[in-house]
């Protein structure tokens, strides 16, 4: 019948229309297909940029890296009291459990960065692009991978070494490798980075903030200082001296949003304002330091949650006339902040951090602070050189370096003729003040005398249950549950 023929045609056309591959082939509209990416220099650079991003996260420098000062006894959590910041309180009271949320953050921060560095290192060599971009990108990837592993090694000890990007078909459940092998990788990566990276002076304003030769030299020096190879520290810091860095005559200019990536800055984590991203998301480009450390209920800054309140013991370390005091901390009678007088009632300890605060009149909103976070400053390099020279028995050669820091802070030279032990103590104390609240103190404590220095200090300030096991964090329980090949750190 005629109708039947038409029906069958309609039927078939439906089948043909929908049967065509295209109908069922839907690809995501808002992500990049990895099959052909990266191909060009621009695309490679976007992957390198992605490798930097985890550094910005609260899991790393936006929160957890500087809360280590609380653990190190420079300050207390403060905040809203009670269970606010309980995970950090537990860390600072040395009752950390494997389910601690802060520990989990520190574990989860570096690995995506390592993955992205691995992707760059795997894909870049075969690309046909400008050699300068290729070398710089690979140098950045080596630097970043080394930096992420350096964070992991210092907090957790043995960790799995992953040097290629993984997929579903690979073995996703590695064992922990001995920390000595991890350091071998870090050192090898940093040496590659030193070769490949340009100096900071070669960066134009739109690339300023990328890893540079000086940054790689500086981090490598810090690695050797941690491992106790002082001669290497001296060699490397001497090389950095030739690169053109200088101390900012005014200490304040290290923490000035109008002087970011300045002459003293070797490597800092970049933040920017007006990005408009959700403050609590991974894309957030604003710094958490100002809103979190701002005094609570004081309206000094946008936000103001009152974290990181300096202890009396820390405040007592300031010598009279130290110019850094008024810049670093807030206390009763200190210079006004953005026209406001500080009241010790704002804090449980009577003190707050000042260094990272951006006034309310400049940045009114809690989620918009552009202040970069310092990872390595030239002052740190000079102090490392002083410490290393002292350890090599060349205390008198070390003195001028320590004095440069002290003089910049308005203090007199260190007393001459100190013993090696006394000078070491002086350098460590200087580091504590100079680099206060920059996330360096904990690492300084645990590397001296195989961690005994940390335990002695912590006991001296009343943290009597700090024990050898606490020098490393526990591997997060949730990760051990997932990957039975991971063992736990002793004592947890």
């Amino acid at each position: 019948m005629k109708n039947t023929k038409y029906i069958l045609i309609a039927f078939l056309s439906v089948l043909l229309w929908a049967c065509s591959q295209d109908f069922l082939d839907k690809q995501p509209l808002d992500t990049i297909n990895t099959e052909n990416y990266p191909q060009t220099a621009e695309e490679l650079v976007t992957v390198v940029n992605g490798a930097y991003q985890p550094l910005q996260w609260p899991k790393l420098y936006n929160l957890r890296m500087w809360t280590s000062d609380i653990m190190a006894g420079n300050s207390i959590v403060g905040a809203g009291g009670g269970t606010d910041g309980i995970e950090t309180q537990d860390m600072s009271n040395f009752v950390t459990q494997p389910d601690n949320a802060g520990v989990l953050d520190l574990w989860r921060g570096p690995w995506p960065g390592i993955l992205m560095s691995n992707i760059v290192l795997e894909t870049a060599p075969s690309l046909d692009i400008d050699e300068n971009i290729k070398n710089r990108s690979m140098g950045e990837a080596y630097f970043l991978r080394a930096h992420y592993y350096f964070i992991l090694a210092r907090y957790f000890g043995d960790v799995p070494i992953v040097t290629v990007p993984l997929s579903s078909d690979d073995d996703l459940f590695p064992q922990r490798d001995p920390v000595s092998q991890v350091y071998d990788l870090i050192i090898s990566d940093l040496n590659q980075a030193i070769e490949l990276l340009p100096p900071k002076s070669a960066y134009g304003p739109q690339d300023l903030g990328r890893a540079s030769k000086g940054a790689a030299l500086g981090i490598l020096a810090k690695v050797y200082l941690t491992l106790g190879d002082y001669q290497q520290v001296v060699n490397l810091t001497t090389q950095i001296e030739a690169l053109g860095y200088a101390l900012n005559p005014d200490y304040y200019n290290n923490f000035n949003i109008n002087n970011e990536n300045g002459q003293e800055s070797i490597f800092e984590i970049q933040y920017a304002s007006d990005g408009g991203f959700d403050f609590w998301s991974n894309e957030n480009q604003a710094s958490w330091a100002s809103p979190f450390m701002g005094p609570r209920g004081a309206n000094f800054v946008g936000g103001g949650y009152g974290w990181n309140q300096p202890t009396q013991e820390f405040m007592n370390q300031y010598e009279n006339g130290d110019l850094r005091k008024d810049i670093s901390v807030l206390y009763d009678g200190c210079p006004t902040f953005d026209g406001n007088s500080y009241d010790s009632d704002y804090s449980y300890t009577g003190y707050n951090v000042r260094k990272f605060l951006v006034p309310l009149s400049v940045i009114p909103s809690y989620d918009n602070s552009p202040m970069n976070f310092p990872v390595l400053r030239y002052a740190d390099v000079l102090l490392m050189k002083a410490e290393a020279l002292n350890e090599l028995g060349q205390t008198s050669t070390a003195e001028p370096y320590l004095n440069m820091i002290r003089n910049r802070a308005g203090l007199d030279n260190i007393q001459s003729g100190l013993s090696q032990t006394q000078f070491r103590e002086a350098v460590l104390k200087e580091r504590r003040i100079e680099l206060a609240f920059e996330g360096q103190r904990w690492f300084d404590l645990i590397r001296v005398n195989n961690g005994q220095y940390a335990l002695d200090f912590l006991h001296s300030i009343g943290k009597n249950n700090a024990a050898q096991k606490h020098l490393l964090f526990p591997v997060p329980q949730i990760e051990i549950d997932r990957n039975p090949n991971l063992t736990q750190n002793p004592g947890y």
Binding site: T34, E35, G80, E87, W111, V162, E479
Partner: protein
């Protein structure tokens, strides 16, 4: 008989066919008797349609005949005094006396619903012919429970169908059929007028619904293939009926209150608690609280936060039908003010359905629903309303809202919930259209071709406006505006070819083959900005600071072929088989297609000779079914491997960053589910009792479970790909019992009992490590998915009383060591059981502490008709489920500065004062608030769900018959609840975690329905 219904009743050719077939019908006699009286007649049903295959029997003999295609019969009986019995399945048997004229026998359907036409996927069937497990929800009972959402009204009315209402105005309920079958999406497929619904049930006006059936077992749902594994709900809206025009007006108005509000401390009690808590925590108490009794009652935040809600609703519907065309149209307006201040829902629905017969072969029609709804509310934070301090007034003296004032440890930091409810404006405007157009063409003799085109367009705009405010220490210096625009368009094209044949041996065959293609595109854009110079111009282009933009889209598509054959023999033996092949865009190359077969059979035991004449067993049918269905409800692009574009900056300059987030897994494919079903349908004791019992086993295989991705891979351990590796089993029994207790003219009483038992067990998740779910705060491990246990089982510590003395602390396993009661375990703290006896309480001392899946659900409905009054009383209950009352983490922790529930008045204050409620101590050093049996409660409840009293005015008494019907009704819903649960309401959601859930309401409705 089916064939006859296709043809025009007034076709003159039919008369000649009648004569011809009359002669043919003589061959259908299976016994001859040449000596007696010849009786001829015709058997018709209540609609005057001839009944084919009716049995005509001479009582007391084996002499009988069967009616032919025109319903005619011829029988020779012994004498004039013989009795002839005419019977047909589903109809009341009639006895007649022999006469010489042709007898017209009209049979009336019996009280069971065996002849009801029910919709199965892509076709229809009579209830008596079903071989699968299908629940038909009785719409007249549902309509007695007026609600804005039909999903809420089917709660308890179908065995195995669990409905959890959301109290929030305008929100859709959660529907689960036969337990939780997957850790992924458990929502059933909802088909409205032939098209799967993309939006929600709130787009459908309950009054417009003609029928609602739930397909439960695989033999019924397999025809929906990859979307059938969670069950299918089929809804059709009313269509015009032949006859003069009918106008119905339905109006109702209702008031609502929360069923239960928890009690919180007053100012005096709070001040006392605060002092104790701070002192125990080693801190100075609040100097303002030195005399608690002087503070009196203080602020009752909950009283200011909750209010009496109301609803008003009017539906006008018009239906008419003529020779060729019928029409149904309706318009509905619904308006609701919720039980929380500043919450509102308004909805308009317009419906327009037509059917037109062009000629005896061709028919076409449409169903159209257009609706608009508006949800408007402030920032209604129930938790903040509970936690706000009673010592803080709602307003300060200058009339401004209050905020926390003073030291945070004394004044807390809860945002003023009344203020936030009143000043924040959240609005969602929804515009929805669902339309289907179909054409049906009869081909050859037994074929019918139908094509159906469907469109669904959902547009919704959201808007949030927060003005700037300064409430003591709670300051938001900039006004904030966010707007978003969403659009989702779905297209559907179904084609089916149906074959229908009735054979001479009284068997019939129905076969259908078809294709279905569906595609959806979704897109959204959004923006936000802060800082407005003037708050009178609230548009995005007037904001000054921090603009953000966002936007994206996604698509999916499905293409399928399916076929079904149903064969039945003499209404006694039935067999059905279906198969469907689905292709989905959600799976990668090589995995796009899946095949889903099913088969079922039924045996009407009551038609066998040994039961045929039984008065006790009027109908008894045994059903068996087996089928495989699928679930493709995972993300749209799970198979893809991709980088997200993200951002970084150098020296303040933003740059693009390409970031891989999810570990790629290109092998992902369907979940498949196989289901076995056995069932009995029976009508017993002379139509007194109807009973349906079903037993089922539902195995989900290849369940999509999150792949375990360790953080060391660099990929997210939270946004992980899925791998087909899990197995879950649900098995259960369902029962529906209806008794017609009294059936007289002026007094009727019938009872329906629904009961369903389901047992859920996770069999495998492809990993030795259990999956954790149920995250609260920073902790993700409240519930587990672990082999050997039900899904979402609760996991935590076991509370073992309270330490009364220091020696008890010392003698127990180590909890938090130390000597200072402000920082270590002390008398008054909770003792947790050392399950592994290792002397330390840590994560190894956790175990399974509760099961959120109910053992059984049940309901009892009694309907009465007393004169002109109808009364129905409906009870509904759930039993055997545990609830984790997560609200108590905030209302009983006694460790931060927030208000607490009055349960804390019984807290520990010294030895022997309490063995259940610990001491108040700031900072909770012992972590009394950890996830333990402390907060697990029995969630069973029994509730008087609905009472409806309707008065039917005797319309025949009105002049001119102006009304065809006039009803006045009152209903009460959720009138009382019997439960041990201490939270707002025991209906909390399938995962059993009560976290800030909107309380269910008690509603009193008064309404009128008038028909003209």
């Amino acid at each position: 008989m089916n064939k006859k219904m296709l043809c025009n009743n007034h076709n003159p050719r039919g008369f000649f066919a009648l004569i011809f077939l009359f002669f043919l019908s003589t061959s259908f006699l299976f016994a001859q008797n040449n000596n007696g009286l010849k009786v001829i007649g015709k058997v018709i049903d209540e609609n005057n349609i001839p009944l084919v295959g009716a049995t005509v029997l001479e009582v007391g003999t084996s002499n009988g005949a069967i009616t032919d295609f025109d319903g005619e019969f011829e029988i020779e009986v012994n004498s004039k005094s013989s009795i002839i019995e005419v019977s047909y399945i589903g109809y009341q048997t009639k006895r007649i006396e022999p006469t010489t004229e042709k007898i017209m026998v009209q049979l009336i359907p019996d009280v069971t619903s065996l002849n009801e036409v029910v919709l199965i996927g892509y076709g229809e069937s009579k209830a008596k012919d079903l071989t699968g497990s299908l629940s038909v929800v009785k719409m007249d009972e549902v309509q007695s429970q007026p609600s804005s959402n039909i999903g809420d009204a089917i709660q308890g009315r179908a065995a195995g169908v669990t409905v959890i209402t959301s109290g929030q105005p305008g929100n859709n309920p959660t529907i689960r059929i036969r337990g939780i079958g997957t850790i992924g999406n458990n929502d059933p497929l909802i088909v409205v007028d032939g098209m799967p619904l993309n939006g929600g049930l709130n787009q459908v006006n309950m009054k417009d619904v003609e029928s609602l059936q739930v397909l439960k077992d695989a033999s019924a749902t397999a025809i929906y293939g990859s979307r059938g594994s969670n069950g299918v709900v089929i809804i059709t809206t009313k269509r015009g009926k032949k006859g003069k025009g009918n106008l119905d007006i339905d109006v109702f108005t209702a008031i609502q209150q929360p069923t239960n509000i928890i009690d919180v401390l007053n100012a005096e009690q709070f001040a006392t608690l605060s002092n104790e808590m701070l002192v125990n925590g080693g801190l100075q108490p609040n100097p303002n609280f030195s005399n608690p009794s002087s503070l009196g009652q203080g602020t009752d935040w909950l009283d200011a936060f909750f209010t009496t809600g109301n609803q008003s609703n009017i539906t006008l519907s018009y239906s008419q039908g003529g020779e060729k065309t019928n029409l149904f149209t309706s318009f509905n307006v619904f308006d609701q003010n919720g039980i929380i201040i500043n919450s509102e829902y308004t909805r308009y629905i317009f419906q327009f359905n037509t059917d037109t017969e062009v000629n005896s072969r061709l028919k076409f029609g449409n169903s159209l629903k257009i609706n608009y709804d508006l949800k408007r509310n402030g920032d209604n934070n129930i938790q903040n309303a509970i936690l706000s301090l009673p010592t803080q007034p709602i307003y300060r003296e200058d009339g401004n809202y209050s905020g926390p004032l003073g030291q945070p440890v004394y004044s807390g930091d809860v945002e003023n919930p009344i203020g936030k409810s009143n000043i924040v404006e959240n609005k969602i405007n929804g515009y929805n259209l669902q339309g289907t157009v179909y054409a049906e063409l009869g081909l050859l003799k037994n074929f019918k071709f139908k094509t159906l085109l469907g469109t669904e367009a959902n547009f919704w705009d959201t808007r949030t406006w927060v003005p700037k405010y300064s409430w003591d220490s709670d300051i938001s210096p900039n006004a904030y505006l966010a707007e978003a625009s969403n659009k989702s368009i779905t297209l559907l094209w179904d084609n089916t070819l149906t074959y229908n044949k009735e054979f001479e041996n009284r068997s019939s065959l129905t076969a259908v083959i078809g294709t279905s293609a569906q595609e959806n595109k979704f897109k959204y854009i959004s923006g936000s900005v802060q800082g407005f110079a003037s708050e009178s111009t609230q548009t995005l282009n007037n904001g000054l600071l921090q603009p953000t933009i966002d936007g994206s889209g996604s698509e999916w598509s499905i293409f399928s072929y399916f076929a079904r054959a149903q064969y039945d023999y003499k209404d006694k033996y039935y067999i059905t088989a279906t198969i469907r092949r689905d292709g989905s865009s959600r799976f990668g190359e090589g995995n796009k297609y899946g095949t889903f077969p099913s088969a079922s059979a039924a045996w009407r035991i009551s038609e066998e000779s040994f039961l045929k004449d039984s008065k006790t067993v009027n109908d008894l049918k045994l059903r068996l079914g087996y089928g495989i269905t699928g679930n493709q409800n995972i993300g749209n692009y799970s198979f893809a491997s991709s980088y997200n574009t993200n951002v970084y900056n150098f020296n303040g300059n933003f740059v693009t960053a390409a970031v891989p987030t999810v570990l790629p897994n290109s092998n992902v494919q369907w979940e498949s589910q196989e289901q076995y079903n056995i069932g009995f349908d029976a009508t017993l004791f002379n139509y007194f009792l109807d009973l349906t019992i079903d037993g089922y086993i539902k195995n989900t295989n290849d369940m999509l479970v999150p792949q375990t991705v360790p953080v060391t891979s660099g990929y997210s351990d939270i946004y992980v790909p899925y791998t087909n590796a899990g197995k879950i089993r649900n098995k259960g029994v369902e029962l529906l019992l209806t008794t017609h207790n009294i059936d007289k003219d002026k007094f009727k009483w019938s009872t329906d009992v629904v009961f369903a038992y389901n047992n859920n067990e996770v069999l495998s998740i492809n990993s030795d490590t259990p999956l954790t779910t149920g995250g609260i705060g920073l902790n993700y491990t409240l519930a587990r998915i672990q082999p050997g246990y039900p899904i979402n089982v609760f996991y935590g510590f076991v509370q073992d009383g309270i330490f009364q003395t220091q020696s008890e602390v010392d003698n127990h396993a180590l909890q938090v060591p130390g000597t200072d009661p402000a920082t270590s375990t002390s008398p008054g703290d909770i003792r947790f059981r050392d399950l592994n006896n290792d002397g330390i309480i840590n994560d190894d001392d956790r175990t399974f502490i509760g099961n959120p899946n109910p053992d059984f659900t049940y309901s009892i409905n009694n309907t009465f008709k007393i004169g002109d009054f109808d009364l129905s009383i409906f009870f509904q209950g759930v039993h055997g489920n545990d609830i984790f009352n997560a609200n108590r983490l905030y209302t009983e922790n006694m460790s931060v500065t927030t208000n607490q529930s009055t349960d804390v008045l019984s807290r520990w204050r010294g030895p022997g004062t309490s063995n259940t409620m610990p001491r108040a101590v700031f900072g909770d050093p012992n972590n009394n608030n950890r996830q333990s049996t402390r907060y697990i409660e029995n969630g069973s409840y029994f509730r008087l769900k609905n009472v409806n009293l309707t008065y039917n005015l005797p319309v025949e008494k009105f002049r001119n018959n102006v009304f065809s019907s006039f009803k006045i009704y009152v209903t009460g819903q959720n009138l009382f609840t019997i439960t041990d649960y201490s939270g707002f309401d025991p209906e909390v959601g399938p995962n059993g975690i009560d976290m800030n859930i909107y309380p269910v309401t008690r509603t009193f409705t008064f309404g009128l329905t008038m028909g003209f």
